[in-house]
Symmetry: D3
Subunit: 133 residues, 6 copies
């Protein structure tokens, strides 16, 4: 048994169904993953989070594959099991090959290593890095 009731489509309120319908239409799919079924316990969070994700992950100056890889990298750094699984799947669907996944995760690992070293040695930021573009 889990900590959170997952709200299935058939048991959902019209407000929740409207979000589910928009998720499926936007993603051109016919199912809803568990993350949204959990958020549906608090409809304002479901709606707000979905609207934000839809806006943030839409193609812009960065393409969808790059965005999914960034999402995966952050989820790996934070150690979030669910988001690692869902965004590995999403990045693969957007075109991430296993070779790309390997390179991506090697960057994540190096960044985590050097982040801890820079913190631990208390390296002062170089003056030329402290500038706006």
């Amino acid at each position: 048994m889990a900590l959170t009731t997952l709200i299935e489509y058939n048991a959902a309120s019209p407000e929740v169904r409207a979000v589910y319908d928009d998720i499926m239409a936007t993603r051109q799919t016919d199912w809803i993953n568990n993350f949204w079924k959990a958020l549906a316990n608090h409809p304002p969070t479901l709606r707000r989070t979905w609207e934000s994700i839809k806006q943030v992950m839409a193609p812009g100056v960065l393409d969808p594959l790059t965005k999914e890889m960034l999402y995966l990298a952050v989820s790996a750094a934070n150690g979030c099991e669910y988001c690692i699984a869902s965004h590995t799947a999403a990045a693969r669907k957007a075109g991430m090959s296993e070779a790309m996944r390997g390179e991506l995760l090697s960057v994540v690992g190096m960044a985590c290593e050097t982040n801890s070293l820079a913190d631990a040695y208390q390296v002062p930021v170089d003056e030329r890095f402290s500038r706006p573009a």
Copy 2:
């Protein structure tokens, strides 16, 4: 005063200088940033970290700009001030526009938000996300 002595080129041992020389040659630049001057207090870490970074950040199936943006995303998730500054600079040098930086950081922010929500609701991983490619 800082916690760590920064080892300048003139004060460096031949072993450290050899790494500094390789950093400058590889990056086609004439200066060494503080991170390496701090690591130089432990030459095996300086050498190993540089060799790893050089391999990981070389162009592969991912291009250098994508790699720098992934590095920045992880550094932001980990809240490492030095690495955020240095990899913002590196990503800009590799071609990241301010519009790209804005989109990148919006993805980082959303990932951090949904990571905490997925953890907090203890969302079970969907069966179809739990598969190798």
Copy 3:
């Protein structure tokens, strides 16, 4: 010099000014804190983040003081200097006394301690904790 240009009201586009005006009206204040001036470099993030914060922090079944204290607790757990400072100020303004701050931070500290112990001992979740409400 800082990594990010802060966009002042006078230098802001009409789109950014509209958000600034709404922040000041909602908070009944006449100034804009640096967080928003930094986000203004990416107007969609400025607008989306403000709309989200405004919704999330509005009084609901939790009162504004409780919400500010929760925000501070999370910021402390994440070690975010800016957010600790700004939400300590906001919680004080909402009524947090120094005695309340002391108790709040003692809870944060204990939670961080027991979080690491529960992880390190790999304590299995008790069956009776694994239930929806």
Copy 4:
């Protein structure tokens, strides 16, 4: 099989039993959750942690429900599965409704998002936030 032996009451030393007895008396319950059975492998940690928790979580200028919600918020930010489960249960027992849980977690999510944005943009702390009460 788990990494850590859970010490049951019947197998416990008198020193450990004394702590178990105090936990049950203080909480007016007749069972011990797994966290304490794991800590019992190191009796000084069991005793010290329990004495600290008992003091920190006692009613003070903050009420028990607020304290449990703060504990849950920090555990969510840290992604600790055990503590999220146990303090969701404790907060519900102390009166947290599902609507309150929803609002609480929306604050946690927003805080994690803005924490990463404030770090990533390296927003300087406003002078008026840098003051003691």
Copy 5:
């Protein structure tokens, strides 16, 4: 100006002075570092934290130098500037040479790298690692 008033000995209550006196006597020193002067804003936290630290850091089956190095490693992993500085100083005082510091931090860095890789690849725990001693 800082967010927190530091309580100096001369301005401290008898309750706070008693803790300060015990810190100085235990450490055989004549000064109090800022961490305790900040905690003194909430005397119960000052007393409880000091009593815990005194017990935890006392020589036991691990010697004081090992304990200080473990403290530093955790502080580096968490990116806590204050604790990195204070426990680097404490570990040096307890006998940590610069060569030992270098090796210690190389372990911290590798652990942060492989932690993120193990999370990102969702490596299942080997059956023989899942056993109590």
Copy 6:
């Protein structure tokens, strides 16, 4: 089913087998744990990570037991389930008793608590802590 294919020895390429052989020879064992079987999906990461671990964890000015305990402490602070399990096993093999494990984890817990308190109170670093050795 898991997110990542584990590459068994029999199915491995010569390049991967060479690393596996070196792992078994170095560790004087006849099996490969899952971490390496996962990294084998990206042979350059497998090779580089193994070479780094082999160098970092070799006896130096710190002995192997101290290094394993530091590795475990960082993994606990980061909440990495796999690395906590594997390095608890490795530290036990290197001589960590259960009493030592108990003391080690009590230090980890205290460090996480005081890290969050030092961050939350924004304690300024004492001048005498801000010095190189």
